[in-house]
């Protein structure tokens, strides 16, 4: 069982780099078969959490597959995560991980980089194998105004 904090951190950082590179196949290879992905933001105006994405592994895989059929802002995103907490449950062979997230967008035209969104990753990591795998990710965004928004999950 891998319960080394640095292995868990590397998983989180790998997922950022893989999504930045739009290597969706590589990203899914770091996810467990039971992977669940959720992205939400709290709206203080209506005092309610808005769930903007809520997918099992098959659904998110299909989302990635259909992306090329859609018109998308080509500006690359850069995800920067900082792992705050790793809490290991030895009995369940899982870790709960909280990471701060900042997403930057660099305009394809001219190269200006702007902060696009901030939030946190709340990850559940499976520690059964030789390398940790992502069992679940809940992205909780603080940013809820994303301008012309985006297609690729954070």
């Amino acid at each position: 069982m891998s319960n080394n904090r640095s292995d868990v951190e590397e998983l989180v950082y790998d997922t950022c780099m893989l999504l930045d590179a739009k290597d969706f196949k590589g990203f899914l290879e770091r996810c467990d078969e039971r992977f669940e992905y959720k992205l939400s933001a709290y709206s203080p105006e209506i005092k309610r959490e808005m769930t903007w994405l809520d997918h099992g592994r098959a659904e998110i895989s299909e989302l990635f597959n259909t992306l090329p059929r859609h018109n998308t802002d080509p500006s690359p995103l850069t995800r920067n995560a900082v792992v705050y907490k790793v809490k290991v449950d030895d009995d369940a062979k899982r870790a709960s991980v909280v990471s701060a997230l900042q997403v930057f967008r660099t305009a394809i035209n001219g190269g200006v980089t702007e902060l696009f969104a901030i939030g946190k990753y709340y990850d559940t990591v499976d520690l059964n194998g030789d390398t940790p795998r992502l069992l679940a990710r809940h992205v909780k965004l603080d940013t809820r105004d994303l301008g012309w928004v985006h297609h690729v999950p954070f």
Partner: protein
């Protein structure tokens, strides 16, 4: 063959109703006129009643005319709207976008007001004002407010305006059964700041020729001869409103659509109805969710899109969650269609920015009022022209004879 400047900027050989001068999307003076002649004179959808559900609940609304408003549910259950402005020295009465307060107390000098707009306390009033200023003189400015058409709270800055029903007319009639079958609740509210003119985004809700932009809409409707997609017709209503006929959406044609079997009271299964209201509101009821777009124009090239998704107040947690999931496929900030719509209308704003020597914008499609006809946009600009006293195809010419001037 490409064109030179003179050819590019020449008026098209079309009736003046079938094109728009691009300056209406970028000129600062015209924008200021829009604020006076349109935004301050029409009914705007501010919030939904579920957002001020209990006594003393309040919500703030940035009115397109420029005034920030506070919408309060009083102790008597009535929803009222006031300027979010202390009558003493003009400070904001409330800073948060929402809250609950038995009294609205200005942080500056602690002047206090109740939910009916009465001034109920001025600290050290006699000592400072003697009998020169009394509480009755300094109540809040109330704004015309009506609640209706699905429990939405509508406001109008014009004290002398006609009723909401007069402004809407029959435009919402064909969605009224669905809007009023059961109380609604807001599931999503968020904003998107965009660098474009509000009319350009509203146009994307007013015409469906742009379904070439949306792979999702093509496979779930346009390419299916049995969906009724091309048989839908526009209906133009007084005051610039327009609606699009219903169709059945073929959701499972989109791989990974994840769409549920959930529906909406009174709406046929897999049905879709859409109504555009002048100047910038769209009611979009798609099978299981109601989407409301409203806009707060900030400048000729800057607008806030207010985006709401609604379900039914009676929904269980599981059903609300499913409605959100249905909405998210195309309408969340990560959904398939919303990004495409905002990308295109933002692209228009960039390409046709002030000074860019933009060409006249064509709105010339005629297809017997069916779905790719551009009558929705022409009808909108006809109302715009009437209210502005300017032709949308030659807005900088002399004001139209007999034009109504604010």
């Amino acid at each position: 063959m490409s064109r030179n400047s003179a050819q590019w900027t020449r008026k098209p050989r079309l009736p003046p109703t079938h094109y728009a001068d691009p300056v209406i999307y970028s000129d600062p003076q015209l924008f200021e006129e829009e604020k006076e002649k349109i935004f301050k004179r029409v009914w705007h959808l501010a919030i939904h009643e579920s957002e001020v559900a209990g006594p003393y609940d309040y919500r703030v609304y940035q009115h397109p005319g420029g005034t920030q408003l506070i919408i309060v549910r009083g102790e008597d259950g009535k929803v009222r709207t006031f300027y979010n402005m202390c009558p003493h020295r003009g400070n904001l009465l409330v800073y948060e976008p929402f809250g609950n307060a038995k009294k609205l107390v200005c942080i500056f000098h602690q002047w206090a007001f109740n939910g009916k707009g009465d001034c109920i306390d001025i600290p050290r009033a006699d000592a400072g004002y003697q009998d020169r200023v009394c509480k009755n003189d300094v109540s809040l400015k109330e704004v015309r407010t009506e609640v209706g058409y699905g429990g939405f709270v509508w406001v109008n800055l014009d004290d002398n305006c006609g009723s909401l029903a007069e402004h809407i007319g029959p435009a919402l009639d064909y969605m009224l059964p669905e809007l009023e079958a059961e109380p609604l609740q807001t599931l999503w509210y968020y904003q998107a700041h965009l660098n474009t003119n509000f009319k350009l985004i509203h146009d994307t809700n007013s015409e469906f020729y742009h379904d070439y932009l949306h792979y999702y809409n093509r496979v779930t409707g346009m390419l299916d001869p049995k969906s009724g997609y091309f048989q839908r017709k526009y209906t133009a209503f007084p005051n610039g409103h327009a609606s699009v006929g219903s169709m059945m959406v073929k959701y499972d044609a989109y791989k990974g659509s994840g769409r549920s079997e959930l529906g909406w009271p009174k709406l046929p299964p897999k049905g879709w109805k859409l109504i555009d209201l002048f100047p910038c509101i769209t009611f979009n009821l798609r099978t299981s969710v109601l989407r409301i777009d409203s806009y707060i124009p900030l400048a000729p090239d800057r607008v806030i899109l207010e985006f709401r998704i609604l379900g039914l107040k009676s929904d269980t947690v599981e059903i609300s969650r499913q409605r959100e999931k249905d909405a998210a496929v195309i309408w969340s900030p990560f959904g398939r269609n919303l990004h495409e719509d905002l990308l295109a209308s933002s692209g228009q704003g960039i390409a046709m920015a002030s000074g860019s020597e933009a060409m006249h914008v064509l709105q010339a499609r005629e297809e017997e009022l069916t779905i790719h006809d551009e009558v929705g946009m022409r009808h909108y600009l006809a109302e715009w022209s009437r209210r502005m006293g300017r032709s949308a195809s030659s807005p900088l010419a002399v004001l139209l004879a007999g034009a109504r001037v604010a």
